[in-house]
Amino acid sequence: MTQVGEGVSVVTIRGGRMAAVLLVAMTLAACAVPAPRPGIPAETGVVVAPEDALPSPEEEMQPAAPAPAPPEPAAPTAPAALALAAQSEQAVAAGDLRLAGLQLERALRIAPRDADLWSRLAQVRLQQGEFQQAERMAERSLQLGSADRDLALANWRIIAAAREGMGDAEGARRALDEVRRLERALG
């Protein structure tokens, strides 16, 4: 019967995807198997890799004169988005990364410029082994929440792990430098 066949094939696809995610997750755990880093063409001089777009923490800590205007207070996140973030935490705790991802995507549709939500989704993507998305989302979070150092620390840790997962040892080392710098600054 077609339906059953269809169901089976679909399950297989999902099973395959799950297997791939698990595999990647294990790779992450082992931090050993290098993977090619897809994405932005490297040879462009003008279109720079996203990390170059990020404020370097040095600048944040020692603002160049003249001092930039004080950061505008971030708009309070809608309670709805906070509720979803809390639900996603529960889903992560229960090991349901798929559901956590769905809830954070929904939260981001409500508060698309919320740096904390981007960082949470980056963390979920990292756990799912989607390293490139994890890296970009953590960078987006840094871009949006440049004043929050705790958040910046969490993001640089995600970036380091994601680059490690993609086999970008050099990039991971640079990210770890930022992690240490922030750790020192935060005491």
Binding site: G7, V10, P55, P70, E72, A80, L99, E139, S146
Partner: protein, 772 residues
């Protein structure tokens, strides 16, 4: 012996003949029984296949995005009404599917629905609005953080034979329906075994007395068999087959199973190629309600249709349908299925059928076309038509309906004001650039017309829409280019690789000498832009476009910098999304999830950040694009939307063949294209044609303003507009405020500014101004 012989002779003759005949008859009987058994077995197999296999080919259902409600959401009572009416919600405050809006307050009773991340229960909530925002949301138990309304069904992908149905479960069917059905069609349903000889006799007697067919003798089971094998052949052979299959069906399956199958199978209406099967869909088709929400009179009408949905079609033959319905109600009274009061009330009701076939289905042809295109990449057509998939899309019905209204009115206004007689065509895309979701799509100047989808299929020269990307490529290198860098807008002739020399012209056929990058982009100067693209290399611009989502490699010709590149409105939207999204490219998704009939996830198209460009450089470009809307080619925007900070760019192809505008605010990005299908000039610039439609649409969406606030790597400084040099004092008469990225503020001060230092309060200051 002779006695023995005597009879033996005839016996041997007749007897032999008899014996042969008997054997023959037995043989024949055996064969007949054999064939009969085989035939019955065959029928049995068919029945079982039909019943136990995939019983029905279920169309894929395509849903809009659900309306999310939470405190702080931008929503007006008007937009809420628009959305709810599109969902066929009715005024009322008692049942799911009802709402009431009074001023800045609304009450709403939603229906339950299952989404990819779990079920959403039915809720009854009170909503309060203030200044276009939800300020309070609560149900009887207290405040509600977040909820969503069931999504609007925007289309179905039907099986090839056109059968459509919404499956119902026997448990959820109102008892009144079953009662009415049995009373009318098969009173002895629970007692008979598939065929009802008493019923046949009674029907025959009634028909004989009446002299015509007034009653059918077939049981529900027989009718189900008839519906399963839709042949309209009236023959004894078919009748016998039908009876045998009915008996087999009853032998194999329970009454409940048979009844449920009947409720889902019976033919109850027709709309074009689409055949309405089952009571679940019929309830929506005639009343735009769920089956369990129907009243007694409405149930009786549907039951009445089972006997002849075309003959009693309530939209075409309302009187006939009314008489039929009341007949069913009277039968219910006789059978004691309802009280005389209930029946009296029901009979007094009008038919209550919505005059038109429900909208929604095929209401948004361009968007549905985009959904099909994106589905086709992953799903077989046959699965879409038969597996009952549920497809959750990104369409925002409120935005789509608003866009349709504004576009239609805007075009009518334009045709009248400009005396245009040509068949002006249009396409428009609205996206959520932060999520990379397509919210609304129009592919024809008549948004309901399901033809050529220009928003996706029509690739037209984009003209100056390309320029922001030329400038973004340059400004990504802040050591070489800032908004204050001077460009040369004097006559230029380039030698093309294989042909004539090319001398780009400005729109006004004038040259402007030395101009700042800012001025060249805001005023859309062609010659300066071509020079800039030559300096950075056209290949660099192409690489940038590809990083931002262009999926082709156009030839690296100098004219690319002026938009000699054919793009569809959707492709333009994808490129501009990166500008509206801090430099991160996103896909333009039309689909969020695909679930199977059991609500298992088959596909999830997740939020994805693609290639990125530095957001500092994007910020510079966006400043210029904002200034386009206040003092450049789109300056009418700031006049028509005072107080809103938006950004965008006009585009006009050569000889005024294409009129474009692409722009965004903090939540919405919209691209408009106007032109003629045969590519003749239409005589509209981007500013004259596309801008008025863009601005009236964006003004009607619940968007806000772009935030050009603090950025750790951006410094804002005043410069002299002419020279692009620092001008800190107001001694310079013509100053502009520009953002600079990564310590790229000009170090040299303008003459006027320097002159002002010594003559701060003297006459020289005035002299200086005069000279400038």
């Amino acid at each position: 012996m002779p006695r023995r012989r005597k009879p033996s002779r005839p016996r041997s003759r007749i007897g032999r003949a008899l014996a042969a005949g008997a054997w023959f008859a037995i043989g024949l009987l055996l064969v007949a029984v054999g064939v009969g058994v085989l035939h019955v077995q065959q029928m049995d197999r068919e029945i079982r296949e039909r019943f136990e296999g995939k019983r029905w080919a279920l169309p894929a259902r395509v849903f809009a995005r659900p309306l999310e409600l939470y405190v702080g959401r931008s929503l007006t009572p008007e937009l809420l009404r628009l959305e709810l009416e599109a969902l066929n919600y009715h005024e009322g405050d008692a049942r799911p599917g009802q709402f009431r809006i009074r001023g800045n307050e609304a009450s709403l009773h939603t229906r339950p629905f299952v989404f990819s991340d779990g079920p959403e229960p039915a809720r009854s909530v009170q909503i309060r609005f203030s200044h276009g925002v939800i300020t309070d949301l609560r149900d009887p138990r207290g405040s509600v953080d977040l909820m969503r309304v069931e999504p609007m069904l925007i289309g179905s992908i039907y099986p090839t034979h056109g059968e459509d149905r919404v499956l119902v479960n026997l448990k959820e069917v109102p008892p009144g329906l079953v009662g009415a059905l049995l009373a009318t069609e098969d009173r002895r349903f629970l007692a008979h075994r598939g065929v009802d000889p008493m019923g046949i006799l009674r029907a025959a007697w009634a028909n004989l007395r009446a002299g015509r067919t007034v009653q059918g003798g077939s049981t529900l089971t027989q009718q189900l068999v008839k519906n399963f094998y839709l042949t309209h052949e009236q023959s004894l052979r078919r009748k016998i087959n039908e009876a045998v299959m009915a008996v087999l069906l009853e032998y194999r399956y329970s009454k409940e199973e048979i009844l449920e199958a009947y409720l889902n199978e019976v033919f109850l209406g027709q709309s074009g190629d689409r055949a309405i099967h089952g009571f679940g869909l019929a309830a929506e088709f005639y009343f735009q309600r769920r089956l369990h929400e129907l009243e007694l009179d409405q149930l009786a009408l549907l039951v009445g249709l089972a006997r002849g949905a075309s003959y009693y079609d309530p939209r075409r033959f309302p009187e006939r349908a009314l008489a039929r319905r009341n007949g069913v109600l009277e039968r219910m009274l006789r059978e004691g299925l309802a009280t005389p009061d209930e029946i009296e009330t029901a009979i007094a009701q009008p038919l209550g059928v919505t005059p038109r076939v429900p909208r929604g289905e095929g209401q948004f042809p361009a968007f549905l076309d985009l959904v099909r295109r994106q589905l086709r990449a992953e799903y077989h057509d046959e699965d879409l038509r038969s597996e009952g998939l549920r497809i959750f899309t990104t369409l925002d019905p409120g935005i789509q309906l608003t866009l349709e209204k504004q576009l239609t009115e805007g075009i009518a206004e334009l045709l009248q004001a400009r005396g245009i007689r040509d068949p002006l065509q249009a396409a428009a895309v609205v996206t959520d650039p932060l999520a990379g979701e397509v919210l609304a799509l129009i592919g024809d100047s008549n948004p309901r017309f399901p033809g050529f989808n220009r928003a996706v299929e029509a690739r037209r020269p984009v003209g100056s829409l390309i320029k922001p990307f030329v400038y973004l490529a340059a400004l990504s290198d802040p050591e070489r280019y800032t908004l204050a860098t001077l460009l040369d807008d004097s006559p230029l002739t380039l030698q093309l690789p294989h042909g004539e020399p090319w001398s780009p012209q400005n729109f006004n056929r004038e040259f402007h000498g030395q101009v700042t990058v800012w001025e060249a982009l805001v005023q859309s100067y062609n010659v300066a832009t071509v020079r800039l693209s030559q300096q950075i290399g056209v290949a660099q611009v192409i690489r940038l476009l590809q990083t931002l989502g262009l999926e082709r490699t156009p030839a690296a010709l100098p004219s690319l910098a002026l938009g000699a590149l054919d793009l569809s409105p959707l492709e333009v939207a994808t490129l501009y999304q990166a500008l509206a999204n801090g430099g991160y490219a996103t896909r333009s998704r039309a689909i969020r999830d695909v679930l199977d009939a059991e609500n298992r996830e088959l596909s999830h198209y997740s939020l994805e950040l693609r290639g990125a460009v530095p957001d500092g450089a994007v910020r510079l470009v966006n400043q210029a694009l904002h200034d386009v809307t206040t003092q450049g080619t789109g300056r009418q925007i700031s006049q028509r939307m005072p107080g809103r900070v938006v950004a965008g760019k006009t585009g006009t192809s050569s000889d005024f063949r294409d009129s474009w505008f692409a722009g965004f605010d903090d939540r919405f990005l919209m691209v408009v294209w106007l032109g003629l299908d045969d590519n003749r000039p239409i005589g509209l610039t981007g500013g004259a044609g596309a801008v008025p439609i863009w601005v009236r649409s964006m003004a009607a969406f619940p968007g806000g303003s772009l935030n050009f606030g603090h950025h750790p790597e951006i410094q804002v400084r005043q410069v002299d507009r002419i020279s692009g040099l620092r001008a800190d004092t107001d001694a310079c008469p013509d100053r502009i405020e520009l953002p600079f990225w990564r310590d790229s503020v000009p170090r040299i001060r303008a003459d006027c500014d320097l002159g002002a230092v010594g003559l701060e309060h003297g006459a020289g200051n005035w002299l200086e101004r005069w000279r400038r």
